[in-house]
């Protein structure tokens, strides 16, 4: 079973699809922001949901009731739920609306706010930004992390870089008519000098194949000076495989399909995906 606002690729794998209203058509959980100046924001619909789409809270409640889980759904709708949440701080959906949807607290935005109390905004032992970290040392990690290079691309391969275009948001706008028209497909950026050596013309279509044999494309080559010679670059969010995404279907290539490898940062746990290598295969 899958929930989404669009007939994306992963939706095609599901037996049951629950079409969700978009964020502009539904109530969502309160936006609670614990920044230096904390605030709570109300997220309410701007327009009615499209066709038979429903908000996720509605689907989950209806499923729950049918499974006999009535005790967990004491609220009838999102407004009732949000009112219960807001009651503890003397607010309501109505009151939030009257104050433009935002409830702010004074907070402590400046260093002086902490100094007045003899404290520090940093939770480290020294109360300062720590370049050399005793906490890391205690955990048997390098207290002063050093840069460790990842391996270079093997001969004939390029490091696959990916990023964004200001036209598209993640993988969800490629099918939107106005934005699809501006940028219907991505390109694989290849250094212009390298393209000449490989006898690949600007605009020529190629398949991309990674170190594990995963393939995506065909995709247009953009021969440009705007990239170094050992890397190629693609805008993320293209290469949709499902016919459900009518305009975006089979346009461009998918960087995600070519990321069969990743590396974890031993300290932060952050995943690095730019460790995949690809080659460009000319179409016969």
């Amino acid at each position: 079973m899958a929930i989404d606002t669009l007939p994306q690729d992963h939706i095609a794998w599901a037996d049951v699809v629950l079409p969700e209203a978009t964020y502009l058509e539904r109530y969502d959980e309160l936006w609670v922001c614990g920044h230096k100046t904390p605030y709570i924001a109300l997220r309410e619909p701007a327009v009615e949901p499209y066709a038979q789409t429903k908000p996720a809270w509605w689907m989950i409640r209806e499923l729950g009731l049918r499974l006999g889980l009535d005790d967990f759904f004491k609220w009838k709708n999102a407004e009732e739920y949000l009112n219960e949440r807001l009651k503890s701080i003397g607010l309501s959906v109505e009151k939030m609306r009257a104050q433009n949807g935002i409830a702010r607290q004074p907070g402590k935005p400046y260093l002086a706010d902490f100094e007045k109390e003899g404290g520090s905004p940093f939770t480290t032992a020294s109360g300062k930004v720590e370049l050399y970290s005793d906490a890391l040392e205690k955990s048997k990690l390098d207290p002063l992390p050093k840069y460790e290079p990842t391996p270079d691309a093997p001969a004939g391969f390029f490091r696959l870089l990916y990023g964004r275009s200001p036209v598209h948001t993640f993988s969800r706008t490629q099918n939107t008519p106005l934005l699809n028209e501006l940028m219907p497909e991505n390109e694989v950026w290849l250094n212009a000098d390298v393209a000449k050596q490989l006898d690949i013309a600007d605009g020529q279509r190629v398949m991309i194949e990674n170190q594990d044999g995963a393939k995506s494309g065909p995709v247009k080559v953009k021969a440009t000076q705007r990239i170094r010679k050992d890397c190629v670059f693609m805008v993320h969010g293209f290469g949709h495989d499902t016919p459900g995404m009518k305009r975006a279907h089979k346009r461009g290539a998918s960087d995600a399909m070519l990321q069969t490898k990743y590396k974890l940062d031993p300290i932060s746990g952050g995943a690095g995906l730019r460790v995949n290598f690809v080659k460009l295969v000319k179409e016969a």
Partner: protein, 203 residues
Amino acid sequence: MARLAMAIDLERCIGCQACIVACKTENEVPLGHYRLRMRTTVIGAFPNLQGEFRLEQCFHCENAPCVPVCPTGATYINDAGIVLVDPAKCTGCKACVTACPYSMRFIHPEGGYTDKCTFCEHRVRDGKMPACVETCPTGARAFGDLDEPNSYVRAALVAAKRSDVWKPETGARPKLFYLNSKFTNTVSEDGKISVMSELHAGE
């Protein structure tokens, strides 16, 4: 008689094309056609590169070549200095499309008349900014009357380190100015701007 004009600060433009989408939505420009377009220019070789985005639309020329060629008087300059087309008078003969030095005019696929940027005359009339100006997330676009000492466009032109117009040699006197171009090497010694087509070469 006002002289409404626009100036785009190239140091602020990030090439996001939100202005293009705002224009299409505001003016219901049909799919496949644009009143605004973006030209990306890159010069140099990796890693020593310079780049620039130039948004192009009707330049609302003071000496507009599209006006005298119109056989029916459909194309005219209004009291505010905006170049407009009266769809009722336009026969779709394309004389203006050919005359425009910037190729900013097209025939509306359903209406059969010439279509192009109107500086959002319907909004400006009500004291609002054109959609492209209002939507620009970096405030790169300034709009207003060149004859009004305190207008945004004059303030932007006065504050700019450099300004140029596209194809000054045509004598059309366009009223869309580009500010703070990085490509100082394309500015000739007498301060006049060079031909844009040279700038395409990079990419």
